[in-house]
Structures are given as C-alpha cells and as structure tokens.
C-alpha cells in the first residue's frame, strides 16, 4: 500500500518535473519576430508601360537575376512607376495584376495549326508556319490582286485577305505592320481602335 503511494507520487513528480523543466525554458526558443524578407532585394528593375487602357501607366517590372547569361530573368513583381506623371506609381486592378497576365496559364508558347475540319491543335515549327502562311497569302494575292478597276484606273489592291491589327502593339510594330501590308496591297484592314 505504501509502495503504491510512493509509485503514484513518482509518476506525479515526473510529470510535474517535466512540465517544470519545460517552463523553465528547456523548450526551444520561439522564433523572433521578424518580418518577411523584402522580396525585391537585388531584383532587376525595368521601366515599361502597362499594356491595357490608354492611360498607359508607367510600370516597374522586377525580374529575378542580374542579366547574367545563365540566369533566366523571370518576372517576379510589377508595380507602378512613381516617376510617370500620369499614374505616379498607382495602378488599377488590371495593372496591379499584370504579373498574372504575363504568366497566364493560357500564354501561347509555340506555333500551332488547326487543319481544316480538325478538332485539335497540332504543334508546328516556325519554319513550317511561315512557309504555309506565305504560300496561302501568295496564292490568294496572285489570284485576287486587282491591278486596275473596271474603269481602267490603276488601283493595285488586294482585298481578299483581311488584316485586323492590335491596339496594344507598340508604335514600331504598328508601323512595320502598316508598311508591309500596304506594300502587299492590302486594303481590307482595320484595327481594334474602332471598337
């Protein structure tokens, strides 16, 4: 009976002791209060312009790496450019979310073709794509190019292939596009701007 009691005490003491030891600080140190590391440290900053609306806000694009050869620059963050006098660093919900546009799951990565009547895409090389498209264009142009209209006036136009242009392409791409398609004689052209 006495022994039992002692045993019982021993159990209790051990329990208490353990907890006391824990209380005296044998437990590992709690992590110190530390804020999240500033994630842009040493990121590469590039000035660009938001591609959405015509406020054309200045943006700062932060990418990983220092442009050294083997490190692929991945865009890690985009925020407003405070120097831009129009947006002064602010961005709207579209602009503030630009990173998700750049990294959209629906970004296209390689040329594809959907053959006539097919129900799936097929990956093709750029060479094949350019070849086939150019052949289509030349065939259509040669077949439908109008040198003179019915009044005998030189018109030199090709109306049977249409071109719709982006309003989000830079001026330089727009200029090269208009220059080349006009040289090809295209007149069925329009831009997103109208709508």
């Amino acid at each position: 009976m006495n022994v039992t009691r002692r045993q019982f005490f021993r159990i209790c003491t051990a329990g208490l002791g353990g907890s006391s030891i824990a209380m005296m600080g044998f437990s590992p140190n709690a992590a110190l209060a530390e804020v999240r590391t500033f994630k842009l440290t040493r990121a590469t900053e590039t000035r660009n312009t938001c591609p959405y609306c015509s406020v054309s806000c200045g943006v700062l694009i932060y990418s990983s790496g220092d442009k050294s050869k083997n490190a692929h620059a991945e865009i890690i963050h985009i925020e407003g450019d405070p120097d831009n006098p129009v947006n002064r660093g602010t961005l709207c919900p579209k602009g503030a979310g630009l990173r998700d546009m750049v990294q959209s799951a629906n970004r296209l990565k390689w040329p594809e073709v959907r053959e006539a009547g097919a129900s799936e895409w097929k990956k093709i090389s750029w060479n094949e794509a350019f070849d086939r498209i150019a052949k289509h264009m030349k065939a259509d142009r040669d077949a439908n190019f109008m040198v003179q209209n019915k009044d005998g006036l030189t018109v030199n136009r090709w109306t049977s292939t249409a071109f719709l242009a982006s309003s989000a392409a830079p001026n330089e791409a727009g200029y090269l596009t208009v220059k080349t398609i006009r040289a090809l004689g295209m007149t069925s052209i329009d831009t997103q701007a109208r709508i």
């Binding site: 039992t4 329990g15 907890s19 824990a22 209380m23 600080g25 044998f26 590992p28």
Partner: protein, 206 residues
C-alpha cells in the same frame, strides 16, 4: 498484505479502466489546456510536440474524455444521489477537514464530498465539451459572439474542474488505502468500515 481475499471489491476492471481513461485524458487536457490558458504554462505544449500539436490533440482528447465520462456517469450516477446523511455530512465538513471524522454520519459507497466531486465534474465536463465544440475551428465556425462566450465558459469550467480534480486527487492521497481501489479494485474491510460504514454494512451484511 497486498491482497486479502476478504478485501471488499469496490471497482471492477471495466470501471477502473473507464476511470483511468477519463483521468489520463483529463491530465493531458489540463496540461495542454493550461498551456493555452496562461503564457506561464505555454511551455507545456512541448509535452505534446509543440503548440500546433497541443492545439490539434486537445479537442480530440476532449471528445474521448467526454465519451468516457458519459459512460462513467451512467455507471455511477445513482450512487451519487444526495441524501439526508450527505446533507448532514456537508454541514460538518469542517470536522472532516480537521481530520476528525469520528462524529461524521455513516456514509454509503460515496460520501457527500465525493458526490459533490461527481456532480461538479459532470457539470464541468458538460460545459467543457459543449463550449469546446463551439470553439473547435477545425470543424466548426459558430458566430463570434457564441465563440467568445464559449471561450469564457470553457476557461471557467476548466478552472473549476482542475480545482475539483485537485481536491479529488488529494482526497485519495490523504485518505490512506483509497487509491488501491482504482489500482486493484478492492479496499480493506477496515477502510470501508472506517470511511464508508453504510457501504461496509451493505457489502458484508454486518
């Protein structure tokens, strides 16, 4: 004199197991609960593998305790009904604490103090289980007002329960020959005659 065949059986094996399941759960719950209760006790979480583990384990232990206690409750509740002798016992509890039990009224299987412990535990466990469930965010999401009330009730009930448990444990330690009832299931006739004479008579027919 470890075991005497004439010792009186007080608890059968199932009852003892039931008690210890409840008891162990209670100890673990108290240790982990105290850790959340006051920063001074927080290091107790290390007994459970850290704060998150303590938080995870605590409510499950509570559920086990709740079930075990309900079983125990139905085993013993009839034996814990308060009678006139208990009332008299309670008025003279001071003598008992003084260690002077000669003039205490005859007690059945449980004296009034034990019955008070039983009922206090019953109330506290119910309060703890219900309030605990209300606070269990892993599964439930009650309106914050209810959760706030539950938190207070839980803390208060837990405090009372631990106090009662201290009394319970101490009484067992203080009253020599008691603890074996929960170890082996038997008590000596002398013990029974001394502390629970009515029960002694009932058991022995004397």
């Amino acid at each position: 004199m470890i075991r005497d065949p004439k010792d009186l059986p007080r608890y059968n094996a199932a009852e003892r197991a039931n008690h210890w399941v409840t008891g162990i759960c209670f100890i673990l719950l108290a240790l982990s609960g105290l850790a959340f209760f006051h920063p001074a006790f927080y290091p107790l979480v290390q007994l459970f593998g850290g704060g998150a583990w303590a938080r995870i384990i605590h409510p499950y232990l509570g559920v086990i305790l709740g079930i075990a206690f309900v079983v125990m409750f139905f085993r013993f509740w009839q034996l814990n009904l308060i009678n006139d002798a208990d009332r008299e016992w309670l008025t003279r509890v001071g003598e008992m604490i003084e260690g002077n039990d000669h003039n205490m009224p005859e007690q059945g299987k449980y004296n009034a103090g034990q019955k008070m412990v039983f009922w206090s535990m019953a109330v506290c466990v119910s309060a703890l289980v219900i309030s605990g469930l209300l606070m269990w965010r892993a599964y439930f999401n009650f309106p914050v007002g209810i959760v706030r009330l539950a938190a207070v009730v839980h803390a208060a009930a837990a405090t009372i329960m631990i106090l009662v448990a201290i009394v319970h444990v101490y009484a067992a330690i203080w009253t020599k020959g008691t603890i074996r009832a929960m170890w082996y299931g038997t008590v000596t006739r002398a013990w029974a005659k001394q502390h629970h004479r009515a029960w002694y008579r009932q058991m022995t027919g004397k």
